[in-house]
């Protein structure tokens, strides 16, 4: 085989694909970071106006809550857990509970990618405080009870008709392949606002 004639092509190809992949991954990370700014602005507008505001005109999702994990900077949660929504921010699972909906209490399920927004989910300790702002601007407090690894192929998402918060991300963290069936769940109990007042 005449490797000599192929080498320049091969190297150009490698570099091209490498750049493309690098660009792709950089774009993913940049999208995840930058979109949060746009989304948090639309969340502010939404809180002020009371109407659903799309972060950009062609978006197929809209912010529904704001999530603050322990000491980290707040993340704006989007409606739905489709791939498009999760690329920009944590997503609130459709059909799971609305935060602070006392008429129809249900576990609130929020999912995000383990390499972008929920990168540090593994660092949450039991007892850590998570705060969630609902669409009326009220903040709800949750306290982490524990974490668990489950197999998404065989387990159901444990959604119960009690107010609680379930954070979901892929497991293991810092892995190379994206298709792992394992999920890392963090469950946080709702801290009754009445109880907080009494303290």
């Amino acid at each position: 085989m005449r490797l000599a004639s192929v080498t320049p092509w091969l190297s150009a190809l490698c570099i091209a694909i490498g750049l493309w992949q690098l660009g792709g991954s950089a774009w993913l990370l940049a999208k995840a970071e930058l979109a949060q700014y746009l989304i948090s602005t639309s969340w502010e507008r939404q809180l002020a106006s009371g109407e659903a505001q799309k972060p950009w005109p062609w978006a197929d999702t809209w912010p529904v809550a704001q999530l603050k994990l322990a000491e980290e900077k707040p993340l704006t949660v989007l409606h739905g857990t489709s791939g498009q929504a999760l690329a920009f921010g944590p997503g609130l699972l459709t059909g799971s509970g609305e935060p602070g909906d006392l008429d129809e209490p249900r576990t609130t399920v929020i999912a995000a990618h383990n390499d972008t927004h929920f990168r540090n989910l593994g660092a949450l300790e039991p007892g850590a405080v998570i705060r969630l702002q609902d669409r009326h601007g009220r903040w709800h407090t949750y306290r982490v009870r524990g974490a668990k690894v489950v197999n998404s192929e065989t387990d159901r998402l444990p959604v119960a008709p009690v107010p609680g918060l379930l954070l979901v991300t892929c497991y293991p963290f810092d892995t190379l392949n994206a298709g792992s069936p394992l999920r890392y769940l963090v469950y946080a109990d709702s801290v009754d606002p009445v109880a907080t007042l009494q303290l």
């Binding site: 490797l3 000599a4 004639s5 080498t7 320049p8 092509w9 091969l10 190297s11 150009a12 190809l13 490698c14 570099i15 694909i17 490498g18 750049l19 493309w20 992949q21 690098l22 792709g24 991954s25 993913l28 990370l29 690329a87 997503g91 459709t94 059909g95 799971s96 209490p105 999912a111 995000a112 990618h113 383990n114 390499d115 929920f118 593994g122 039991p126 009870r145 524990g146 974490a147 668990k148 690894v149 998404s152 192929e153 065989t154 387990d155 159901r156 444990p158 119960a160 008709p161 609680g164 979901v168 892929c170 497991y171 293991p172 810092d174 892995t175 994206a178 298709g179 792992s180 469950y187």
Partner: protein, 796 residues
């Protein structure tokens, strides 16, 4: 990995550099370059493997850490994670289904055999939520193991549970079939040995549906996950049998855990050695020449036999169990009967004189140009999460078609509901072109998501119509839904109490709608129902519904039995009939009065568009069949349904301790006629234990397939990794590789030009090379050293 990497672009011949003087030098260089390439590739492979190994080891360590922080306090958290032992149950049981249906007269006798094969290494109990037609009279259950058959018996529900539990604990093979809803059963099989296959045969009877000259038969194969309204309730079951449902019992649906099976995508199930496939064989022997035998959702083929019998089967063998099977056929026009009567002698020893009668009669089908009354229609459309996917498209299409049928005289409104409801107009508005146009664009924008809070929407729909316009308008509510709710009872109660002069029609949407809800809601709503399972059916089925909505009704139906004949017939009050619907009833006649010379005639009369009509049918020439127990079972099933309706209307007893006369009556009937009912279950137990007591028994739910075209909702995990690290690593590997290749190519040129002096990059390369070697030496284990260390136990 990336595909182009393995398929380098083909280079055109003209572009190739042909061998010149340089050829041999290049070739020599290349071989060295090749060795370089080899080194790099090896290094990259080692690097990737090392990173992978780190990730692996990290995983196991972390899992161990989880155990220590896992949720082990009691409370709702335990409930939350109930039954989630990873990797335990899904692949344990393989399910196959064979259905043999025999149609005789107006009855289909169905034998449904389900094979549960244990594919795990443990003894298993299979728990399966079995959907059946809403009017099924379940009259038999057997366990089949190879050639052996263990016949199941009807027992009182609690007793059947006890018998089953005891057999399960003792290691005997046992099966239990419990009714949860008229169209939803739970089937359990205990003590299936590893690798063994145990079949459960369920037998039931079903009346054929007849509408607009067409007979039909429906066989559900899966269900749409039900929404469970209400607040969670404490479990109060007296005999706790393990339920694998993901729903927690609520105040509205106390048996939510029993009717919410694990759902899995059909593709995934088929991937597991073709689980969840059903084969169907139908023997159509109505004694009539038939035309137009077809199934809307499956491909069927049929063969004509002797005596107008037709053998119908699936064209391509077994089909996935992810949608209802339906079969339609019509008698040839010349032989279309206007009435059918079937009589049967009782086979119950205690009452040998009883006879049963089944009757179907077509009212006059004149094409009456009736005065068209203006209508006021409220369309209620379900936009809950379970409607996601194809269902919402079918619903929208149906609704748009319905809007296009309205005339200027009519008034209309649309209500959509999921967790809450929204009404398009506050009150029904005149169907002007402008209003309809606005409604159309609103309908187009509807999306499926959220819960199914049907009750408030239903109340709203039934209270929107103003009282002072009674008589001027025909009031109709058209309810478009998949009926995926667990609180059917409460909804029927709302319909019954608030209906007034309104008529409620249901349109069942999707591949596996809740037929029980559709039929019963229409019965209470004094309307009719259609089912749409495919987008292509919308036009035809909605057309049929509109014909019903717009045509005059057959009202005031009366039935007159011959003098002195003691008859108990169901339904007690004959409902009004819409266009194309027949009068149908089942009756029990005392003292063997049928088929004799003195039997006389039964007269059915009614009113159609202001004109009275009557039909009489002779009972004396009837041939009474004394072999079957088909009509008898159907009569008992109808009576149970009527008693259940009565019970529902009466509401719960004020004293919960007191014996309920109605439930006693149902129990007596079900035991007498050997039927499954809310109070009776089938249980079959083998005599000898098979499972050694040293072997534990595991309980596994057999999943139901997600109905075709439905978005798998109900809380599956989203995928939450982008693979950005993998992508970045691949990118850097490729960049390094490309760069090195480039260097390899350029090296001799620069070496030739700058002979004598070592170029800077060459020094750098040697350094990199050395570092790499050192690193590799450190990373790769030295076998010699270990071998020397081991046996002697010498440590340095």
């Amino acid at each position: 990995m990336n595909r182009p990497f393995f398929h380098p672009p083909r280079i055109h011949r003209d572009l190739l550099i042909l061998p010149t003087d340089e050829y041999y030098r290049r070739r020599y260089r290349k071989s060295r370059g090749g060795s370089w390439l080899l080194l790099i590739v090896t290094a990259v492979a080692v690097l990737v493997a090392a990173v992978g190994a780190r990730a692996q080891s990290g995983e196991s360590v972390d899992t161990a850490a989880f155990e220590s922080v896992s949720i082990n306090e009691s409370g709702s958290g335990d409930l939350l994670f109930q039954g989630s032992e990873p990797g335990r149950y899904i692949p344990a049981i393989h399910l196959g289904t064979e259905v043999a249906i025999r149609v005789r007269g107006l009855v289909a006798e169905v034998v449904l055999e389900q094979q549960f094969r244990n594919t795990s290494n443990d003894w298993q109990e299979a728990v399966y939520v079995l959907p059946l037609p809403e009017n099924a009279a379940v009259n038999g259950m057997e366990i089949v193991i190879g050639e052996r058959r263990i016949v199941g018996k009807v027992r009182e529900r609690e007793e059947a549970r006890r018998v089953y539990k005891k057999a399960r604990e003792e290691g005997k093979r046992a099966a239990l079939l419990e009714q949860q809803r008229p169209n939803l059963f739970t089937s359990r099989v205990a003590n299936i040995a590893p690798g063994e296959q145990v079949s459960v045969e369920v037998r039931y009877l079903q009346t054929l549906r007849f509408d607009r000259g067409q007979f039909s038969l429906r066989l559900p194969s899966t269900l749409t996950p039900r929404y469970m309204p209400g607040t969670p309730a404490a479990s109060s079951q007296t005999v706790a049998l393990n339920a694998h449902g993901w729903s927690i019992p609520t105040s509205e649906v106390p048996d939510a855990d029993q009717i919410s099976p694990v759902m899995m995508q059909q593709a995934e199930l088929t991937g597991r050695e073709g689980s969840h496939q059903m084969d169907i064989r139908i023997d159509l022997g109505m004694g009539l020449p038939l035309a137009d035998i077809h199934s809307p959702y499956h491909e069927v083929s049929f063969r004509r036999g002797e005596d107008h019998r037709y053998q119908v089967g699936l064209k391509n063998g077994a089909v996935p169990m992810d949608r209802d099977f339906a079969l339609f056929w019509r008698p040839q026009v010349a032989s279309m009967p206007s009435a059918a009567l079937f009589a049967e002698q009782s086979t119950i020893p205690a009452e040998p004189d009883a006879q049963y009668l089944q009757l179907l009669l077509l009212p006059p089908q004149e094409n009456l140009a009736a005065r068209k009354l203006p209508r006021e229609v409220v369309y209620v459309v379900d936009t809950s999460g379970s409607m996601g996917g194809n269902s919402i498209r079918q619903a929208k299409e149906s609704l748009l078609l319905a809007l296009s049928r309205l005339s200027q005289m009519d008034r209309f409104n649309i209500i959509e509901f999921n967790s809450s409801h929204r009404s398009f107009f506050p009150r029904p508005a005149v169907a002007t072109a402008d209003n309809i146009q606005r409604a159309r664009s609103w309908v187009e924008s509807l999306r499926a998501n959220g819960g199914t809070e049907m009750a408030p929407a239903l109340k709203e729909a039934l209270s929107q119509q103003l009282d002072h316009r009674v008589g001027e308008l025909v009031r109709q509510v058209v309810f478009i839904t998949d009926g995926a709710v667990g609180n059917e009872r409460a909804l029927f109660e709302i319909i019954r109490q608030r209906l007034g002069e309104t008529r409620l029609f249901t349109v069942g949407i999707g591949s596996a709608p809740n037929s029980f809800f559709m039929a019963k809601a229409a019965q209470y709503g004094r309307g009719s129902f259609v089912q749409i399972g495919d987008l292509s059916e919308v036009q035809g089925r909605m057309g049929a519904l509109f014909e019903k909505l717009e045509s005059p009704l057959v009202t005031d139906l009366q039935i007159q039995w011959p003098q002195g004949m003691k008859v108990e017939s169901y339904p007690k009050r004959l409902p009004d009939l819409y266009r194309g619907e027949p009068v149908r009833l089942v009756a029990r006649v005392e003292n063997g009065a049928l088929g004799g010379a003195a039997s006389g005639e039964v007269v059915i009369s009614g009113r159609l568009a202001g004109k009275r009509f009557s039909r009489s049918l002779s009972l004396s020439q009837l041939s009474v069949d004394d072999s079957g127990k088909g009509v008898g079972s159907l009569w008992a099933r109808e009576k149970i349904a009527a008693l259940r309706d009565e019970q529902r209307e009466r509401g719960p007893l004020s004293d919960p301790e007191a014996a309920d006369p109605l439930s006693e009556q149902i129990l007596g009937l079900a035991l007498g006629y050997q039927l499954a009912s809310p109070y009776t279950s089938f249980v079959a137990v083998e005599e000898t234990p098979v499972r050694p007591s040293s072997e534990p028994l595991k309980s596994s739910p057999v999943p139901n397939a997600v109905a075709r075209g439905q978005v798998m909702q109900s809380f599956t995990y989203p995928s939450t990794a982008t693979g950005v690290y993998g992508q970045a690593l691949l990118a850097s590997v490729l960049l390094v590789l490309g760069g090195l290749l480039r260097l390899v190519r350029q090296r001799p040129l620069s070496a030739g030009q700058l002979a004598g002096c070592r170029p800077w990059w060459r020094k750098g390369r040697t350094r990199v090379e050395r570092a790499l070697r050192r690193w590799l030496r450190a990373v790769t284990p030295d076998l010699r050293r270990r071998a020397g260390d081991g046996p002697g136990g010498v440590s340095r």
